[in-house]
Point group: C2
Chain length 381, copies 2
């Protein structure tokens, strides 16, 4: 065997969550509470949730995975739920089981890259529903109707309507109910990608006319990862949960079973915490809007729907760009200065626009973040 | 919302790994060492390995995922490696990217159910290579040649040859090199399912003529889960690692990226430990053979290849069945008595045959297990 230097594995450390206030939007919703961390101690080996498995992960009673899945369905206002390896895998499962090769998926221009990649993996086509462009990038539900009819007129076979509930670029909240109604009227199944919403804010699937919700434990359900949820209406269960002809107890699209061990146990133990925190969504929006209001005073400009309806904020930051021209650290000055103040999670070297979230921070922390950014900018102008 | 009783999430506990000697074969290889447990403290949130990601998980430098994948390839004697959600997902990726709908996969009768389910999910056919039946259930490589030729004669299109390196029923080690040579000669790609071997015993992919190795972190690489490895030869990399036409940096079959966070960090931190332990494989076989020798003295009968070449042992146990007829706990007596002695991991209520492994236990523990089982049986006859 070629020589392997093992030193690099002996001191793998991570400081950001312990020592910094982390503003990275993809990370803010996936920090497990202390209860989950305690459970991880006992469940960290690979097959830890399988001690009493009789062949079906979703039917395990100790720990109570079976009841948990029922509780998840109640929480999401859907009929049946399964865990998956993540929202992307949830989407692929729906596409791969419902659609035939070459079918069209109608999806929004703001969709996450994984929606497109899942479509490609499932060998499907897609048609994009455009947003309204700079600077709100809003998705008009009416455009779904137009796009659907265009594909129908061209003779394309539509297999699925997909909407990104909140996108990862602008943090725009889409009008899912309207898109759901259009899908229903046209008779197509409707998948709502809730990776950025379920677990952060209240989401009621049936109220939004969704046939499927794709959710993410590690993104928004205070959970270790990777783990996702696929929640569905009864009428699709038979097709999605089809079992193997050789192994009648095993669900084919899930390859028998999906995420187990730490990701699953943390999703379960975090569940009561998640139920509580979604009730405080209004307070989170207050924090978010406060950040926007304060940072726009120093020359940041919030992009996307105004006022904010989600914690992910995108700012245009010409002022940072201007400072970067004069600073010997160039674009890295902002990252560097934040780091000195114990703040992380802003992409290094980027100054034209930044993404951030203060989701789950205390008001004291939010104020500290705002004051620190103001301080950095005002001292450099 | 329907009322959810949250009490069940508030006291989720697991005692088996802390307080018992666990003999469950699927769990013995997936216990992380203390170094990994320490790293988990800092990496338990969902996107913990993504702090410095530039868009490709396999290229992340902090922590050194990129170098780790190279080291894995060296360790496995292959060219290119990726992490996946598990061995089953590794197999599905190979099938889904290499084979066309309806193609045949030639695989052994001892294959894990996930091989069949992956075939079904990928919409492929299969032809089984029979084992030699009771009581060794051995796979004769020559039967691969015959099965391949039979399918060729019938005009079937063969897409993949799959062999289970060690199966989960009998713990039989297959002659991979011979099957590999047959596959090579016939010109078909050869996938070796190493879920039960890589990480426990030395495996050199190219020496075994494998084009692909499917490995399991949680089953055999001392890792939290779920995580797997797909290691391949250069010549297949382009097809398997094809990137998206819309997002040229994202690998389609991996939906962008796969297992991250705790599973990946524990796989990495456990790697030096795994490298060391595979060197001690001979000692593990000694323990396994000792268990067989001793328990056959009290009426157990080892099924599968003799002498054992892997730690998974299957016993026929007519003596337990006999005792169960007379005990008021029926089949549960054995589980119950073991529990009193601090031993777990044997399926509850089963007495006709049992599966067990003493992999990674100390000799002191192995002796305690053997003595305890003897004690239970001899006291009940």
């Amino acid at each position: 065997m070629e020589k392997i230097n093992l030193d690099k594995y002996k001191n793998i450390k991570r400081r950001i969550e312990r020592e910094f206030i982390n503003l990275n939007p993809i990370q803010r919703g996936g920090v497990p509470p202390v209860e989950s961390k305690k459970a991880i101690y006992e469940y960290w080996d690979g097959y830890s949730v399988c001690d009493y498995c009789g062949g079906r992960l979703d039917q395990v009673k100790t720990p109570s995975i079976c009841e948990f899945l029922n509780d998840l369905s109640k929480f999401l206002d859907m009929d049946i739920s399964r865990t998956t390896h993540g929202a992307r895998e949830s989407k692929f499962i729906v596409m791969h089981s419902l659609c035939k090769e070459g079918d069209y998926v109608i999806l929004d221009e703001n969709a996450h890259y994984t929606s497109y990649v899942a479509i490609e993996r499932a060998k499907l086509n897609y048609a994009k529903v455009k947003n309204n462009g700079y600077s709100t990038y809003k998705i008009d539900p009416q455009n779904y109707k137009e796009t659907i009819e265009k594909i129908e007129d061209e003779g394309g076979n539509i297999g699925l309507i997909l909407l990104t509930h909140v996108d990862g670029n602008y943090g725009n909240l889409s009008d899912a109910e309207k898109v759901g109604k259009i899908a229903k009227k046209k008779g197509y199944p409707f998948l709502l990608n809730c990776a950025y919403t379920v677990g952060r804010m209240p989401v009621k699937g049936k109220k939004l006319k969704a046939d499927f919700l794709a959710c993410s434990g590690h993104k928004s359900m205070a959970s270790s990862g990777p783990i996702g949820v696929l929640s569905m209406r009864d009428e699709f269960a038979e097709e999605i949960l089809k079992t193997s002809k050789d192994y009648p107890v095993k669900e084919v699209e899930f390859l028998g079973c999906t995420s187990r061990g730490v990701p699953l146990i943390s999703l379960m133990v975090s569940f009561p915490y998640v139920l509580e925190r979604v009730k405080k969504w209004d307070e989170e929006l207050k924090k978010t809007r406060y950040v926007v209001e304060e940072l726009e005073k120093i020359g940041f400009k919030q992009i996307g729907i105004r006022p904010k309806e989600h914690d992910l904020i995108k700012f245009e930051t010409p002022i940072l760009d201007e400072i970067a021209q004069r600073d010997k650290r160039r674009g890295y000055f902002f990252y560097d200065e934040l780091k000195k103040k114990g703040i992380g999670g802003i992409t290094r070297g980027v100054t034209k626009e930044i993404k951030m979230s203060v989701y789950g921070l205390t008001w004291e922390q939010v104020n500290y973040v705002v004051d620190s950014i103001k301080d950095i900018v005002l001292n450099k102008i």
